[in-house]
């Protein structure tokens, strides 16, 4: 067994963090002040992952591959983790004694996602996915005095368990037909309905588990409910990082998806339905987190454009979009978490007059909403453009048309966020001082918004990273 320690640096770093957090959970409360350095430590992780970009190789009997793609996503996961930890620092609905545990689970989930980004063997993928999920099963109901939280937790666990079981079942089919679980070997096998129908069913079931994470139609039903039930800070995590994990595995598995394969067409149809269904449902939402839940269903559809295209261009576009989605969604949740000082769920009307109460937050919200629509000059536009280009190149003209028409639908509800913040007045029966939003950490929200704008103006650097990621997907020898 080959084990190169230098290939494992980001994971080891995160493991060390988790170890530290474990000590905090069992240690005396006076140690908990160290918790506030966690975002910084996670931020350092971005650098650690960036340093390990130079390494690449296979290890653990070829089940674990370190390459451009994995390192790219590990960097993104550290970035997301740093922001979500920072965001969750002063979580109002979390009882004090659970704080270290909360962050322990966050980091464990991130570790699972990190392993996921390097896994190139179905069982390894499955295990990494489970590690990422189990932590979330514990996190979602971790919200004191809120019956909806328990309901959301149960929903996530039960549906997650069913999907997991189906994925395992699918895995057995693949193994039974093709006698291997290594992606590298699976690529060389035949995947067609006429020759190996069982394997095709197997891969469809296995992909289902990933679609569940990605909240792609028809496995999206948990998404709005879980967002609504989880606390704002947890929702910010659930809405962003697991999506990255799902995208990275889909990018890897897309080498299995030959354009001639029937599954690809099915995926294209799912992408189209997902976009349309997510957007139409979001139109009527009043609860902000539900709205973002349905919007993430539609964004899952957008990412699939790149996966369906399956070319290096498409995969790098998908990788780019996943990171952009992480940034813009985090910026949006950042505003929600700052605004909801008592941790309750916000309605659209709670945004009224945000402009007067906190101009900075209003601006961050506007930037992230316009980015989510895909309006220039934000990164959301660039990401969408890359996706559309790659899908059109592979001849999915109808899918591109559906995607752009969907942006037209999406305008309404995203613009609604901006309208409430900028053109409605704050409620007059409450004194203005009571409504004024304190701005701690506005700087970080501003940085997120600035990143979204910067990547819209100059997407070159990140895209060349993403290109590296897309180019290295050729699994194994």
């Amino acid at each position: 067994m080959i084990f190169h320690i230098e290939l494992f640096i980001p994971e080891l770093y995160l493991l060390a963090l988790i170890g530290g957090l474990f000590v905090l959970t069992v240690g005396p409360q006076s140690w908990w002040r160290f918790l506030r350095y966690l975002p910084l430590a996670a931020g350092v992780g971005i650098g650690v992952a960036a340093l390990s970009f130079q390494f690449s190789g296979l290890m653990l009997y070829g089940a674990y591959q370190v390459d451009g793609l994995s390192q790219f996503f590990k960097m993104a996961i550290f970035l997301g983790l740093a922001v979500t930890c920072l965001n969750a620092m002063n979580q109002p609905t979390l009882s004090e004694e659970k704080r270290p545990d909360y962050f322990l689970f966050l980091c464990l989930s991130a570790l699972g996602l990190m392993l996921l980004s390097s896994a190139v063997e179905l069982v390894t993928i499955f295990l990494a996915l489970e590690l990422a999920s189990y932590s979330l099963y514990a996190l979602i109901p971790l919200r004191s005095k809120e019956p909806a939280a328990a309901e959301a937790g149960i929903k996530y666990i039960l549906f997650g368990a069913v999907v997991t079981a189906l994925a395992m079942y699918g895995l057995s089919y693949i193994l039974g037909v093709h006698h291997t679980t290594y992606l590298a070997e699976l690529v060389t096998k035949t995947w067609s309905w006429s020759e190996t129908p069982a394997a095709l069913i197997g891969i469809a079931l296995f992909l289902g588990a990933l679609f569940y994470k990605l909240a792609l139609f028809p496995l999206h039903f948990w998404c709005p409910d879980v967002y609504e039930g989880a606390s704002n800070e947890t929702a910010a995590f659930v809405a962003t990082l697991p999506k990255l994990g799902a995208v990275v595995v889909l990018v890897r598995m897309s080498s299995l998806l030959d354009p001639s394969m029937e599954v690809t067409m099915l995926l294209a149809v799912l992408a189209a339905v997902s976009m349309t269904f997510g957007n139409l449902s979001a139109l009527v939402q009043n609860d902000l987190k539900r709205l973002l839940g349905y919007s993430s269903v539609s964004h899952a559809g957008y990412v699939m454009l790149g996966i369906v295209a399956g070319t290096p261009a498409g995969l790098s576009a998908a990788a780019f979009y996943a990171v952009v989605y992480l940034l813009m969604n985090l910026a949006c949740f950042w505003v929600i978490c700052r605004l909801s000082t008592d941790g309750r769920n916000l309605k659209l009307d709670d945004l009224n007059g945000l402009y007067q109460r906190s101009p900075g937050l209003a601006l961050v919200l506007a930037v992230s909403a316009f980015a989510l629509v895909g309006l220039p000059p934000t990164a959301g536009f660039m990401g969408k453009l890359f996706l559309l280009n790659s899908a059109w190149m592979e001849g999915y003209h109808w899918l591109v048309i559906i995607a752009v028409l969907n942006s037209a639908i999406a305008i309404y509800y995203y613009l609604n966020l901006v309208r409430h913040a900028y053109t409605r007045d704050a409620p007059t029966d409450v004194p203005a001082e009571a409504l004024a939003v304190p701005n701690p950490g506005l700087l970080w929200g501003g940085l997120l918004a600035a990143a979204v704008l910067w990547l819209g103006v100059a997407p070159g650097t990140l895209f060349s990273f993403a290109q590296l990621a897309g180019a290295t997907v050729g699994v194994g020898p």
Partner: protein, 514 residues
């Protein structure tokens, strides 16, 4: 870099954007207005190198090109030709005038207002100078955000409805335009507009891309069935918003037709020309007829815009030299006169707090200077000889008659309608009764300052249009030559099988890791 060494177009695009950031450090409202005014004057100074524009060539000048996203062959690529340079001059001129006409009109959120104004101007210069398709689209969409805010925050009582309608209508229209851009890229492997113009496209491809682009442009213009957002947006927008909307935004649509539809999809333009001409004539007649019945001054001018822009699209789609030249002149002239008319409506609104014609009558006796300007711009608006409107309308009409007598005959009632509604408005304002005008003051110095340059332009372009026409001419000749030859080429080659589409490849992929 440019031939002058100074990146004049980039300076014009980015100076207002940078200056907008500077606003954050200012607090006092008066300082903010003065600051923006100075920024506007500097911006005009920055445009001065554009006067070195070479009138003898149809090539793009002041070109700057820099790699932007190499992986997708996107470049930061700007430049101007005879079609766009005048629009840039107009845009730059409007910034200080808009600041001046909002001096007392805008009383709340002054800083944000000027912020939006500066963003608008930067984006609009960007639109008229972009030579990269993605860059164009970015400016095209980016300009919607400040415009949306201008209407939504500083607008009239119905601002929410109007701003939402404006935003969704125009953005929804341009989503398919994005699909067309992607299609062009995948077909040719480039986003560069000059390069795209040298390619040949299959008719089927032209057919669909023309439709996708034309929808976006027709909404922006706005042409007849897509015009409903315009009156709402105009009526609710603050004065400066209406001015920018009328003078620049509407021109983006017709500019798009000239820049993209004719050169890129000549065969489809030819194919759809009867439809476009029909819609243009309907716009002219319909806009004029509806304007005749309006009681709200802003609505009247808004509907007159529908009619005037109908002349522009008509001139473009008859494909004669005079028609296209007239169309471009009409774009400029409509920008000047309608912008000025909206400023005048804003000025009288500050006195009467009403836009109803009935509330603003009898100005001839008490506000002679106001009526002088109003009369001048009104007669320019319906194309009175000696004013700029006459030059462009006459050119378009000559172009239309050259193409087809019947079409020309159909257009004439539109010209008469324009005279009718403008004269009716002018008469009522000047001599109507009863009058509250006795209590109002005539134009003050500030109002003189922002109206006078436009009045000078009206007379200058009306009496001596030679320079403007010389600027436009080479580009129009080139555009039409190219259009004719490529249409002919297409006719010849239409029977032969299509050459395979060239597919772009991303740079070579890195080897698999081991």
């Amino acid at each position: 870099m440019t031939e002058t060494g100074f990146p004049v177009l980039s300076a014009l695009i980015f100076f207002p954007l940078l200056a907008a950031v500077g606003l954050f450090f200012l607090r006092d409202e008066r300082t903010i207005r003065l600051y923006t005014l100075v920024v506007g004057l500097i911006e005009m100074g920055l445009a001065a190198p554009l006067f070195r524009f070479d009138l003898t060539t149809a090539n793009f000048q002041f070109v700057e090109i820099m790699p932007w996203v190499p992986a997708w062959n996107m470049n930061y690529h700007v430049g101007v030709d005879g079609i766009s340079i005048l629009m840039i001059f107009l845009t730059v001129l409007l910034l200080p005038l808009c600041v001046l006409c909002s001096w007392t009109y805008i009383g709340k959120r002054v800083k944000e207002f000027h912020f939006c104004l500066l963003l608008m101007i930067g984006a609009c210069v960007g639109i008229f100078s972009a030579l990269d398709f993605v860059l164009f689209y970015i400016f095209w969409e980016a300009m919607l955000i400040p415009m949306f805010l201008l209407i939504a925050v500083w607008g009239g009582p119905n601002k929410r409805y109007a701003s939402l309608k404006f935003f969704i209508y125009t953005l929804a229209g341009s989503t398919l335009f994005l699909a067309a851009i992607v299609a062009f890229f995948v077909n040719t492997g480039t986003f560069s507009i000059p390069e795209l113009m040298t390619h040949e496209y299959a008719f089927n491809f032209q057919f669909w891309t023309f439709l996708a682009m034309a929808l976006a442009f027709a909404i922006k213009v706005p042409m007849f069935p897509f015009h409903t957002w315009l009156p709402a947006a105009h009526v609710e927008a603050p004065t400066a918003g209406s001015v920018l909307l009328a003078s620049i935004l509407l021109k983006m649509g017709t500019y798009g037709f000239l820049r993209f539809c004719l050169p890129l999809t000549p065969a489809a333009s030819e194919y759809f020309a009867p439809l476009m001409i029909t819609i243009s004539i309907i716009s002219i007649l319909y806009g004029g007829a509806i304007a005749l019945g309006q009681r709200d001054m802003k609505k009247l001018i808004a509907y007159s815009s529908v009619a005037h822009m109908g002349f522009v699209t008509l001139g473009i789609f008859v494909f004669t030299m005079r028609g296209v030249e007239g169309a471009i002149m009409q774009m400029i002239n409509h920008g000047i006169t309608t912008g000025a008319l909206f400023m005048l409506v804003g000025a009288i609104y500050e006195r009467s707090h009403s836009r109803e014609i009935a509330d603003n009558m009898g100005l001839g006796k008490y506000l002679p200077a106001y009526m002088f300007f109003f009369g001048l711009f009104a007669i320019a608006s319906f194309g009175f000889p000696g004013t700029n409107g006459f030059v462009s309308e006459a050119l378009v009409l000559i172009g239309v008659f050259e193409a087809n007598y019947l079409l020309g005959a159909l257009t004439i009632p539109g010209v008469m309608l324009a005279a009718a509604y403008m004269l009716r408005l002018g008469l009522k304002l000047a001599w109507g009764q009863p009058s509250q005008a006795a209590n109002w003051k005539d134009l003050n110095t500030r109002e003189w300052v922002y109206l006078a340059p436009l009045a000078v332009l009206v007379l200058y372009l009306g009496l001596m249009p030679t320079l403007a026409l010389k600027t436009i001419n080479p580009s129009v000749v080139h555009l039409l030559n190219q259009y004719e030859t490529r249409k002919a080429l297409h006719m010849e080659s239409s029977l032969q099988p299509e050459p395979p589409a060239q597919i772009v490849q991303l740079p070579a992929t890195r080897g698999t890791d081991q």
